[in-house]
Symmetry: C2
Subunit: 388 residues, 2 copies
């Protein structure tokens, strides 16, 4: 097991009615920037509830609405500008990963003199940030309990992750009821996103990280059991609750600390979203099984790890590692593309030509050389071809 | 799943050489009370290392040495007195649960005007505490990352748990190498303690706490895999590391949040330690399998839960719930009393007469009425009889 520092200061208010804790902002500041995406929080009534609680707590509200699914640097800049001109002293994100990621970089940008894109390409420049509070409305990125944010500059075809302990939310409110109205497509994609985080954590070259591996298996089993239930019964509280808590635990450091996680599928998918603006979770679902097959093809000694994964998560009982590993990938595909009904190919999500495969693979390969199985540009092109 | 608040502010420095972080105390205060037990930290050199780092950081040190295995209120009072007369502004516990629990109540008592026992019997009186830092030397109680402390008044045969968010350590240093010298008896008892915390978390009446259950299974599997290795190869780093991290995660709120944990085995064991000063972890190991059997006898509908436990933790494949549950208890006994070589009866730990069974059971029963299966005085006497 590797050395690690575990530090998750975000307080979580989990469950029904926890929105009342927004009133605590009254004692923490006077003006909040409310960051959100489309109109879903208005339709659901959450927007009105939050505004009423904030008003009753004596907090004034200014807004940054319309954050995109892959949040753009232009929107971040707009939020920073509002913070600076309106003397905002705290940020509240209501939504999913996009709203929260945008809010994080706005929070940092508000206390930075240069352009916010600097903070995306150079996280070391993030020296402080306004305090951030979140209300989660979809189980997916885990941004509600971590220090990460992913921001896109579509003019450059860049989608880049940044991170800072200053951007970790002070508290996040997780009420599973807010996810009852999440449409099928996003319940799917969110579950795939959580699964991908966990899979990236699970396949590590660090020896002796046994407890981390078992914790990954716990999250993965939770997804396999609850994803299809949430899909078919959108207002099943326990299914939504299990997915929601899995979302936070999958990427807050619990699974990675000590296990030296070498991200690979994420950098590969990031190029797909950066070039084609596809839904992150769908991209991850499409890429992950192919990535597994390339791993085993390139390094057959890894087969035993995929066999272990299949036995632990899907209850595969085959004794032969090669058979169990093959079955594991098949079961994963079945879960993602049949039980969860996620599109299974790049074409199915609108990527109908291969023109950018080389270019995307070249960019992704700059971040996959130290992966669980190192991936070259050629390997990544092969993954794209398999997924086409 | 129940509503819950998750709030674990303790920062963990995990791994080799993390003791260097003690130097951070130089920027946090000027005089520390060093709380520890017997001479083991002197023999291992840890005492000297810590004192040197503190001295180099400009921190003066006063000491509370000789904390007992079941820490006494008299020792707490002595620590409080030192804090008050010496103007101590922070506390450092080096050791296991006893040193840390004692240090917690000293930290609170130092800022309280009355007698420290008040804070044990009435946690609501704990309004503040000196900041606490810990260096862990045994994987067991999880006190390094939680708000709990258990203090005994042997003159009253009382062993009582108290808790306060003010007593949560600011940071804890977890270096598995410090546990290489933990003797067999305490590696055993510590593992049994962690296992018991996790089992108490696992068996809950809350519906839909799926992820919490799977996380418990992850910790339990970690114990089953690593406990015997640590026993037979005391300096196996990865085995010690897995046990150490399991110790913290088992009781910091991760497994219990949302699962409404109804503690039963602990209150029963607490009476044994309070009357006979036995090793807490050994008492828990002895009591737990018998408690399981009484649960199923009193409420056969629970049998399926024990079958699930056996399948997940011990890989039992029997389809019949009753057989699997029976096998699960047998496998647990085999793990505790054979693989881990823990004494299996009360007589084996020195409780050679039954005179206090009624009295202990009566006291324990005041805290077990809302358990997973409610336990009466008579049930607890039966457990003691089974364990005799």
């Amino acid at each position: 097991m590797d050395n690690f520092t575990y530090n998750i200061p975000t307080k979580i208010y989990f469950g029904k009615g926890q929105i009342s804790h927004l009133a605590e902002l009254g004692s923490k500041g006077s003006k909040v920037l409310l960051v959100y995406g489309g109109g879903s929080i208005k339709r659901s009534g959450l927007y009105d509830t939050a505004c009423r609680i904030l008003k009753d707590a004596g907090v004034s509200v200014v807004e940054l609405a319309g954050v995109e699914p892959n949040p753009r640097i232009e929107t971040v800049r707009k939020g920073v500008e509002i913070c600076k001109t309106e003397d905002v002293d705290m940020i509240l994100a209501i939504g999913g990963g996009s709203a929260m990621d945008c809010a994080k970089v706005v929070a940092a940008g508000a206390l930075y003199d240069g352009d916010a894109w600097d903070l995306v390409i150079n996280p070391g420049l993030i020296a402080k940030a306004l305090p951030l509070y979140c209300v989660l409305t979809i189980a997916a990125t885990g941004s509600e309990m971590d220090m990460f944010a992913v921001i896109s500059d579509m003019s450059l075809n860049e989608k880049i992750g940044t991170a800072s302990p200053h951007m970790v939310p002070v508290f996040s409110i997780l009420d599973p009821e807010y996810t009852f109205t999440v449409p099928k497509k996003h319940t799917d994609a969110g579950t795939a996103d959580i699964m991908s985080h966990t899979i990236e954590n699970y396949f590590t070259n660090v020896e002796g990280a046994g407890i981390q591996g078992h914790l990954c298996e716990a999250v993965l089993k939770t997804l396999v059991e609850n994803g299809p239930v949430a899909l078919n019964e959108p207002d099943n509280y326990d299914a939504r609750a299990n997915l929601m808590w899995a979302s936070s635990l999958a990427i807050n450091g619990l699974l990675s600390g000590g296990a030296g996680v070498p991200w690979t599928a994420h950098p590969i998918e990031h190029e797909l979203s950066a070039f084609y603006d596809i839904t992150h979770g769908e991209g991850l679902a499409i890429v992950t099984p192919a990535w597994m097959e390339i791993c085993m093809k390139k390094d057959p000694s890894k087969t035993k790890d995929f066999a272990k994964f299949g036995r632990a998560v899907f209850g595969i009982t085959e004794e032969c590692d090669e058979c169990a590993a093959k079955d594991a990938v098949a079961k994963l595909r079945q879960f993602l593309f049949e039980s969860m009904e996620i599109p299974s190919t790049l074409r199915a999500v609108g990527i109908t030509e291969k023109d950018n495969f080389e270019k995307m693979a070249e960019k992704a390969a700059t971040r996959t050389a130290n992966g669980y199985v190192p991936m070259t540009k050629e390997d990544i092109v092969e993954i794209f071809e398999m997924c086409f």
